[in-house]
């Protein structure tokens, strides 16, 4: 196979590349966001009830081990979606995110010292308020760590989705292959990696800004 390197392709197709990038981000990030929102209450339930934990944590472990292609082809069977519906990729991505985060959220919430939750109750927080302003913020470092893994894998899994015909940068990869267009191929791969790294760095930054207390040296006295 001969790969061509038609460099002019790049400037001529910036609009298409930009569109594919936007699509890729939408396809990858929306499921992560949904997964995050679902895994917080699930993780809370798992942290709170032994029975919930006994079901959710092993289930998450199993789901995470199912190969992505299998899951992508399974979705139309289960949900009755069309074969090229973006949901076919987005649902598995959300499932992976949940599988990844449920355990983290649950462990992080369980790690909140009991005297801290007792103190929050004692000063007069109502349960939901206490969860949102005391327990959840304390779980943020662990949640952000899980989220970083979820986002990076979502970026690459979305590329796999091109195999079943959904858009995004993965489509440029398949297209580049079919047309022996090395420029298109490499540009798409580089973009996926670079964007994943940028989002990862952003998450790291936001996580640090949101948790100033984690950077205080222990045992400093005056």
């Amino acid at each position: 196979m001969n790969i061509d390197w038609p460099w002019p392709w790049l400037p001529a197709n910036t609009d298409d590349i930009a569109e594919a990038t936007g699509e890729h981000l939408y396809l990858a990030l929306l499921p992560v966001l949904v997964g995050l929102l679902v895994s917080i209450p699930l993780g809370w339930a798992a942290s709170r009830w032994r029975v919930a934990r006994g079901i959710l944590v092993p289930l998450a472990g199993v789901l995470y081990t199912i190969p992505s292609l299998a899951l992508i082809t399974l979705v139309p069977l289960v949900l009755g979606t069309q074969i090229i519906d973006p949901l076919n990729v987005q649902v598995p991505l959300a499932v992976y995110t949940i599988a990844l985060l449920v355990r983290s959220v649950s462990d992080a919430l369980r790690a909140v010292p009991s005297e801290v939750t007792a103190a929050a109750t004692a000063v007069g927080y109502r349960p939901l308020h206490r969860f949102l302003t005391v327990e959840l913020p304390l779980a943020v470092p662990v949640i952000v760590a899980g989220l970083r893994v979820a986002v990076v894998s979502a970026m690459s899994l979305t590329a796999v989705g091109a195999l079943v015909g959904i858009g995004g940068l993965g489509q440029l990869i398949t297209e580049g292959f079919l047309r022996n267009n090395g420029v298109e191929l490499v540009a798409a791969i580089v973009l996926i990696v670079v964007i994943a790294l940028i989002i990862d760095a952003l998450l790291l930054l936001v996580g640090r800004i949101a948790t100033p207390w984690t950077r205080t040296a222990k045992g400093v006295n005056s």
């Binding site: 801290v116 103190a119 109750t121 000063v123 007069g124 927080y125 207390w213 205080t216 045992g219 005056s222």
Partner: protein, 376 residues
């Protein structure tokens, strides 16, 4: 007033943590719940702010059944100081203290300025306000815990072994501070501890619990030491309770005799000593230590402040100085711990006013006994 009426708490696993407790906590003053581990102190305390609900009986706060109150609202009116402080790790010291004012609807600005006042009240420097709890020592964290509990100015303060996790010197500091705060603020404080010494030091009234959550005795501390209700209480109160009971007897009857003093840095001769000893004092007449005749002979005439024999405890004639100040215990301890067998008596400014001996303290005790001041 907090009234426990036939209160029972049985946990779902069948443990009876508190069994038919009848007890009234009077307004003002510190009421201590003391007893061995697992006797139901924490359970009893947490039933007051409904962190735990009783399975039998009822609790009245100022005559009103607490079951009629919404728990979060009830709790905002009751300060709670938890063991190990339980500060919120993700909030600065200032924001920890501002928690309850914020919950009760004050503006952030008002809550923070209130928090600043509280930090000052509990003796924390303002520069700690911006730190996170992990950047404080255990003693400082405990002070923040007290400040947080007091921020909304609740009439009732519950404290669960607040000082048990700090070293003895810091604990003593925190205890003194609590007594000082209480004399200024006059809250109704319920204080839980398993340390009988702490109970006696802090309590205006002490409730001794036995395992199974049964009240063994409820009395003021001097009566507890003098007349333990039964063997359990007397063994819990400890072997040297007779000595500790002296802490409740006023030493006003102990004659303060003269004591020889020499000034540090100045010339002194052996005939300035009394029975071979003198107290070395500074320019303000505050005691620095003792000089013996032998020591003085090696000092070539002038009193060297760096080479004194360290003194024992001091007998504070002014009883406002602390918990046992001005008591027979304080006087006797000063005499017994002094290298010269004469206890140094000091006034409110810390200046030497004379000396006491063990004999005179015991004589004063005998007088007090004859006069019927000592509970039999």
């Amino acid at each position: 007033m907090i009234e426990f009426q036939a209160v029972t708490k049985q946990y779902p696993d069948g443990t009876v943590a508190v069994d038919n407790l009848d007890l009234a906590v009077e307004d003002g003053g510190i009421t201590v719940f003391v007893g061995p581990s697992g006797c139901g102190k924490t359970t009893s305390l947490r039933m007051i702010n409904r962190m735990i609900d009783p399975t039998g009986g009822r609790i009245l706060l100022d005559g009103k059944d607490i079951r009629e109150s919404d728990p979060p609202l009830l709790r905002r009116g009751i300060g709670y100081v938890i063991q190990h402080a339980g500060l919120f790790p993700h909030r600065t010291v200032l924001d920890n203290v501002a928690t309850v004012p914020l919950l009760t609807g004050q503006s952030r600005r008002a809550a923070r300025s209130r928090a600043g006042e509280l930090l000052e009240l509990v003796g924390l420097p303002a520069k700690l306000a911006k730190r996170y709890p992990a950047q404080l020592s255990g003693g400082q964290q405990q002070r923040v815990g007290v400040a947080r509990a007091l921020a909304a100015d609740p009439p009732v303060l519950l404290m669960d072994e607040p000082f048990s996790a700090v070293d003895p010197i810091v604990r003593d500091d925190l205890q003194q501070q609590l007594l000082r705060l209480q004399s200024e603020l006059d809250k109704t404080i319920v204080f839980v501890t398993h340390d009988i010494d702490e109970a006696i030091k802090l309590g205006d009234r002490v409730a001794v619990f036995r395992v199974g959550g049964r009240l063994a005795q409820y009395d003021d501390p001097s009566a507890l030491l003098a007349r333990p209700a039964d063997d359990f209480v007397s063994s819990f109160v400890g072997r040297d309770r007779g000595y500790r009971a002296l802490g409740f007897l006023d030493a006003g009857g102990v004659p303060v005799g003269p004591v020889a003093t020499v000034r540090a840095g100045e010339q002194a001769t052996a005939d300035q000593l009394d029975d071979g000893w003198a107290v070395a004092v500074d320019a303000e007449n505050r005691p620095l230590g003792w000089v013996s005749a032998e020591l003085l002979s090696t000092m070539d005439g002038s009193v060297n402040a760096d080479r004194l024999v360290s003194g024992g405890s001091l007998f504070e004639v002014d009883s406002s100085a602390g918990t046992t100040a001005g008591s027979l215990r304080n006087a006797l301890d000063a005499a017994l711990s002094s290298p010269s067998a004469v206890g140094i008596a000091i006034d409110g400014d810390g200046a030497v006013v004379g000396g006491v001996t063990a004999d005179t303290v015991l004589a004063a005790l005998a007088d007090a006994r004859r006069a019927g001041e000592v509970p039999a």
